[in-house]
């Protein structure tokens, strides 16, 4: 990208930047998962996302590999539906979230998966996250969607699958790490210490075929 200068490989370290989008019905916990992942915080009374929020988080996969996520947290409301393609169009990965205590939210998630598989980047990596796991740990009868059912669906559709809790942070880090591991790191570009938050991935369609490390300058 234009914003990135020539990089220098520091030792053997690899640096990759990926675009991730969160989708799912409103109030299933998308923003909460992001906030847990990015800031390690949780808010019992959070207000609905307005529009979409853009956040970044960098994780180390191992001593030599760093992955930076550029995350689009979208609002799940119907009226924003037409804007969704803008956010998933160049995404390298997506987390589709449902609420394990709300049966209808999985249907919505399945619809998103379908749309992604049809419209998004061909090699997009999709993870299905059944959130609010803490609720059923306390009261098992609150569960509306058996883990086995969702897992079977995920396997069939070729998705990563986790049951998560943004509240207790159970499986949150694991979810994002699993995605990072599945991303094509080999194409990852050299680390550029100056890139920082300035690096931007263009929102416009990329040339077909480019994917992986967020269209690096390498």
């Amino acid at each position: 990208m234009a914003a990135r200068g020539p990089g220098s490989r520091a030792g053997n370290s690899r640096f990759a930047q990926f675009k991730l989008v969160l989708l799912g019905e409103s109030a299933v916990g998308k923003s909460s998962l992001v906030l847990r992942f990015v800031k390690d915080q949780f808010d019992d009374y959070r207000e609905s996302t307005i529009g979409a929020a853009f956040l970044t988080q960098t994780i180390s996969l191992d001593d030599s590999t760093t992955v930076k996520f550029e995350i689009w947290d979208t609002a799940g409301q119907e009226r924003y539906k037409s804007l969704a393609p803008m956010y998933y169009r160049n995404a390298n990965c997506a987390v589709v979230v449902y609420d394990i205590t709300q049966a209808s939210s999985l249907d919505k998630a399945k619809a998103w998966v379908k749309e992604l598989q049809r419209q998004a980047n061909e090699n997009i990596i999709i993870a299905l996250a059944g959130n609010k796991l803490d609720l059923v740990t306390e009261q098992p009868d609150k569960r509306a969607i058996p883990a086995a059912d969702a897992e079977a669906y995920a396997r069939e559709a070729g998705l990563l699958f986790f049951e998560t809790s943004a509240k207790t942070s159970e499986n949150v880090k694991e979810l994002f790490t699993a995605i990072a591991k599945k991303l094509p790191l080999d194409q990852a570009g050299p680390r550029n210490p100056r890139s920082g938050p300035r690096a931007g991935v263009d929102l416009r369609p990329e040339a077909p075929g480019t994917q992986g490390a967020g269209a690096c300058s390498c």
Partner: protein, 672 residues
């Protein structure tokens, strides 16, 4: 008359723009049929209950000369819907030709000599006589600025002002002619020796300080914002919830003309359904006739109705606001709904299906409506005056900030703003487009009052309709926050403990575009702007100004008896005020202060009042309102403050504003 005839619906004086001295002002040398009626009036016992405690014990009424021409401008808010009582949008248009040339005379001095005569900056002074023909009886039941009494004519002709306001008079104690210097004359405050003794002892009693045990009007206000639990059909908690519901001072309801509930500030659907039905029946009944229902009073509660196409809005208030004030609050809620949906979408939804349930399309924006509603209930100078507040900066400093924005501007930018805690730091805009205060009110509410955007902790890309700009389509707003207490290099890294930093400390960069795909371009611009502001020292200046907060009244006028004031510059549609600290800190003191301002404002703006100066004495405060073509000014002092000291303080403040005009206001803003 605006500088931007093509910009949008109303490019009148309710926009941020170059103060355009378009109408060559006939220098107001108005003397004339001015009257002043001054008297003493002891607050009657019945008034204790009403929030407008003892308003207007002493009134100076100055009538303008040409009765047909001049009317105090109404709150400049886009007039999207049928408001028959406002045929011209906004009222200020009518008066513009009379406005003195604003650019050429921004600093009309109010000299120390002027203090003695309290002449208006527009040059008018007037002679004031006390016509003996005005009898006390005429005014007997009129002192109800907050419209707490039934006013039949509201529903008859939609007049929102009280025709009789300007006729208010009290037993005159002053004979013959005088001028406003008499405001300074303490003799008319002639009081019993005992009262004087008491006063002199407590010269510095602050407003509302003497706890008035008889005044129970705001007794439960602290609970106003506690949520009412949902109705539990099995638990049978409905009665208890209804008690809570009825204890609220303020309700806002929105329903469709078909009677579907859309929004209620308090109570869940099960609780409010009955009321919705009654209200729908009432409104529809009058709708059918040619005589729509504008409002009614039940006990001490005022109901005001605002109809916008398929939507009915109802404000139910025990806080004593005027109908006009309540209606403008309802209009703001309507604007918020338009901002979410756009007008064509709203119209389409209802023309397709009159029975539409609008809650679904509005999902997730209830918090925006509620934070707007709560802002009104808490009392907001900005909403009351329909004006914006700016962060006080040196002119040269603001110039640097403006230029930094202009230099970093990308092609896709429509409006660029830097806002610190709801106060405007800098605006850049295209020459042809203005920014409407009502639009900015919605944006500021979203960013600084509601928590949703801030709590996201990142950068934001928000589609929204700005109805004042164009109610038919969406714009896209890039937002990122910086904290005034964070000296880190980048906004993204700011430590964000949700709710820890008050809204006052938040600095936001807003970049608005008509292009929905321009996020990265605007993000880049934001990064450039922020790093440039950091480099040239502006960021530190902004943060320091935010941290410093507003000056206190005593900082502005050392030793003054004034405890708070509002000054609105009409030309700039901006206001300035001192800190609420130390006298009005907290929910209740602030609400009482705002009650007072609401009342002054309502009287000054009452339709046929022609009121220019209003001096009001009540048991727990003394206040002054002063309206000229250039400004509106409201101030308050403790109950024992003499009239002279108030007038003196008022003049000092106005001198201060003149001196600081280019610091406290953004004059014109930067255009490209």
């Amino acid at each position: 008359m605006g500088s931007s005839p093509t910009a949008s619906r109303s490019s009148s004086n309710n926009c941020i723009r170059q103060p355009n001295a378009s109408g060559q002002a006939s220098q107001a040398d108005d003397h004339g049929n001015t009257t002043m009626t001054v008297g003493e009036d002891q607050m009657s016992a019945e008034e204790v209950e009403a929030p407008q405690e003892g308003m207007g014990a002493v009134k100076a009424t100055v009538e303008d000369r040409d009765d047909d021409g001049y009317r105090p401008p109404l709150p400049p808010r886009p007039n999207l819907s049928k408001t028959p009582e406002r045929p011209t949008t906004p009222g200020g248009l009518n008066t513009s030709h009379r406005r003195p040339s604003l650019l050429s005379k921004p600093t009309t001095a109010v000299s120390s000599i002027d203090i003695q005569t309290l002449s208006f900056p527009d040059g008018s002074r007037g002679t004031f006589s006390t016509p003996a023909s005005r009898s006390v009886s005429e005014s007997a039941a009129l002192d109800t600025p907050g419209s707490m009494t039934p006013k039949g004519k509201h529903s008859q002709n939609g007049s929102e002002g009280d025709d009789t306001t300007s006729l208010m008079s009290y037993a005159p104690t002053m004979k013959g002619t005088g001028d406003l210097a008499s405001l300074l004359n303490d003799d008319i405050n002639a009081q019993s020796p005992a009262w004087r003794l008491l006063s002199s002892k407590a010269d510095t009693v602050n407003p509302f300080e003497a706890i008035d045990y008889e005044n129970t009007s705001l007794l439960n206000f602290e609970n106003e914002f506690n949520e009412i639990a949902p109705v539990d059909s099995k638990g049978g908690n409905e009665e208890e919830l209804l008690t809570q519901f009825k204890a609220k001072y303020k309700h806002y309801l929105c329903l469709s003309s078909a009677g579907k509930p859309i929004y209620s500030r308090h109570g869940d659907q099960n609780l409010i359904n009955g009321y919705i039905g009654i209200i729908q029946t009432l409104i529809s009944f009058y709708e059918g006739s040619k005589d729509p229902l504008h409002g009614f009073t039940a006990g001490g509660t005022r109901f005001v109705i605002f109809i916008a196409g398929p939507l009915y809005f109802v404000a139910i208030s025990r806080l004593g606001e005027s109908d006009a004030q309540l209606r403008s609050q309802l209009e703001a809620l309507y604007m918020q709904i338009l901002s979410t949906l756009t007008l064509p979408t709203l119209t389409h939804l209802f023309s397709n299906r009159p029975n539409t349930d609008l809650r679904r399309p509005l999902e997730g924006t209830e918090t925006l409506l509620s934070s707007l509603a709560d802002t009104f209930t808490k009392g907001s100078p900005s909403a009351l005056l329909s004006a914006l507040e700016c962060l006080k900066l040196r002119k040269s400093q603001r110039y640097v900030i403006n230029n930094t924005l202009l230099k970093a501007r990308t092609e896709k930018l429509l409006y660029g703003l830097i806002v610190a805690g709801g106060r405007l730091v800098s605006v850049v805009r295209p020459k042809r487009h203005s920014l409407h205060p009502s639009d900015l009110q919605l944006i500021f509410n979203m960013l600084f009052e509601a928590g949703g955007v801030k709590a996201g902790g990142g950068e934001n890309w928000i589609p929204l309709c700005l109805p004042g700009f164009n109610n038919r389509g969406y714009l896209y707003m890039y937002v990122s926050f910086l904290s005034a207490y964070d000296d880190g290099q980048d906004g993204e890294e700011r430590p964000s403990t949700p709710g820890s930093s008050a809204r006052e400390d938040e600095i936001a960069v807003l970049l608005i575009s008509a292009e929905k795909e321009s996020f990265y371009e605007l993000k880049q611009m934001r990064d450039d702007v922020v790093s440039q502001l950091e480099k040239n020292g502006s960021m530190d200046i902004i943060k320091a100004a935010v941290r410093q907060g507003r000056p206190s009244t005593a900082d502005i006028v050392p030793g003054t008896q004034l405890r708070h004031f509002l000054y609105k510059s009409r030309a700039n549609v901006q206001y300035t005020m001192p800190s609420f600290n130390p006298y009005f800190n907290g929910l209740l003191p602030q609400r009482r202060l705002m009650n007072l301002y609401n009342n002054l404002h309502a009287q000054i703006h009452a339709k046929h009042s022609h009121l220019k100066v209003l001096h009001s004495v009540s048991r727990d405060s003394v206040s002054l309102a002063w309206s000229t073509p250039l400004f509106e000014f409201y101030c308050v002092a403790g109950p024992n403050a003499s009239r002279a000291s108030i007038a003196h303080g008022a003049n000092k403040v106005i001198q201060w504003v003149k001196r600081e005009e280019e610091r406290v206001f953004i004059i014109g803003g930067a255009v490209f």
